[in-house]
Symmetry: C2
Subunit: 114 residues, 2 copies
DNA sequence: TTATTGGTCAACCACTCAGTTGATTATCAA
DNA sequence: TTGATAATCAACTGAGTGGTTGACCAATAA
């Protein structure tokens, strides 16, 4: 059942845009090791904390990242759901993708066999 | 084996950026029905042929689309490989994603059972 | 040859983006 | 209270975006 999440397809704009930046993808990677604060994340980068804060805002608005407050700190976590949205979108092309690669593999196998 | 394609990760910037636009995602969908020329694709949209041509350029530079010439026409096709690159990137998060959703499902099942 | 058509290139516009610096808010510690 | 810290907000800059129109090139058709 693909429909439900895809109806929120306006979000795909936000999600893919969020993922189009290497720094933001890197932030997601670090978060996949466990939750972190803004400051902890920013410490690993050359750019200002402000820049990281803005990247995290983009990730949050794309629902790729969830935040909760703890005192004056923001604690960030990956949100598995939005990754699911990308995964679902990609599945639209999964069959196409697999068929063609299989066909290519077959062709190459045949070719090397002959 | 994830390494090979991910080394070409500079491309992920291009790929995700290409996917961040609804018109471009729509173009990919139409191409998944089979190859088409620039003009055929453009006919389905309100914007100028020039705008579509530029969108197709973005998709081509991200390797999501392949072109071949036939007379004065450009014939466009999906390129299954780049979809594979996205898929591989996503698989970095697949386990995380699945674990968390499973945990959530378990929690909800437990909750409704009690 | 001369038109016509398919498509790209070039220049421009309003808008957005990633980054900066500096001010601001909210929480913790003296 | 006062001061330091975590993080966001505000305003700005240079670069890039999606869109336009008009010129241009290549291939078909007259």
């Amino acid at each position: 059942m693909l429909a439900p999440m895809l109806e929120a397809a306006a979000n795909l704009d936000l999600v893919f845009h969020a993922l189009s930046d290497g720094t933001r993808r890197s932030l997601l990677r670090r978060l996949s090791d466990g939750e972190k604060t803004v400051g902890e994340l920013a410490a690993d980068y050359d750019v200002s904390l402000n820049a990281i804060s803005k990247h995290l805002k983009v990730l949050t608005e794309a629902d790729l990242v969830i935040r909760r407050k703890s005192g004056r700190q923001q604690i960030l976590n990956l949100n598995p759901q939005s990754f699911g949205a990308v995964r679902e979108w990609l599945q639209l092309y999964e069959s196409f993708w697999r068929e063609r690669l299989d066909a290519l593999a077959d062709y190459l196998a045949e070719d090397s066999g002959a």
